[in-house]
Amino acid sequence: MLERNLARRAPTVSPLVSEASVTVRPLDPQGRLAFRIKPAALAGRGTIDGFDLTGAINSRTSPEADSGMRTALRLGPDEWMLITAADEVDERCEAISAALTGVPHSLVDVSHRDVGFSVEGPGADVVVNAGCPIDLAAKAFPAGSATRTILGKAEIVLARLAADRFTVTTWRTFAPYVQGFLVEATRS
């Protein structure tokens, strides 16, 4: 159902790619689950269906480097964004719900809500900082950090995979704005 809807939906991002040393590229579709649970309700469970939930607030955990298929972004004390392959969302939902039978939690498939971009190359932090006010110094926001924040006028989720490699995800309707903003920032 979701796949059909997504296939029908007009693309919201243009093929626009920056030509500067920092590249801004739209990411392929990903499965995204908004997951909320009180830490106490986890009752010591550190991992659910392969998602590592033990990360500190505003961090990104992925079981193996570059696997990318079971990534958990901890966005708040009781909130995670779980990222998986686009075609595995239903399986993940079922497995997580089964693991938490009887435990109060909220799990919502928001795969279609967001569009992601990679911002990569020497000076990627400066490009993100063109519109994002948080401190991206290696000490304040090292690789492995992830947080909800702002880029220009749009809310984004920013994750740092490496010193010069970020992903920026934003709501679909903000995507053209965010993409234009980032590409423009690579030119200046």
């Binding site: 607030i57 505003n58 966005l75 708040g76 004390p77 909130e79 006010p133 948080i134 947080t147 909800r148 924040t149 702002i150 809310e155």
Partner: protein, 102 residues
């Protein structure tokens, strides 16, 4: 830019936050038992001090959590921030333990 010390995220830029007005105002448990004057006072009357006051703040473009803060309305300095449900910290103790962001 003014930095606000979110109890969950640490120091973050003020544009990620929203102020929710004066803190520690309890809604009467039985509104029907409250007289008009008291209800009006609960709804509309706030302290509005010149100096330090306790306020509710929301880290909306961040962890999404509400928390309380002691802010000086004269200098706009945040004296302390603390989680919802915790009692208002003593001003002097807070000043000693948390330097302002000025």
């Amino acid at each position: 830019m003014l930095l606000i010390d979110c109890p969950y995220c640490g120091k973050r830029p003020e544009v990620e936050f929203h102020c929710g007005g004066e803190a520690h105002i309890a809604r009467p448990e039985t509104p029907t038992a409250v007289g008009d004057a008291d209800w009006g006072s609960f709804l509309y009357y706030r302290t509005n001090p010149k100096g330090v006051q306790a306020e509710r703040w929301l880290h909306g473009h961040g962890c999404g959590r509400w928390f309380n803060a002691l802010r000086d309305t004269v200098s706009d300095a945040f004296v302390a921030t603390y989680e919802m449900g915790k009692p208002r910290p003593d001003r002097d103790a807070a000043t000693a333990s948390t330097p302002s962001n000025a």
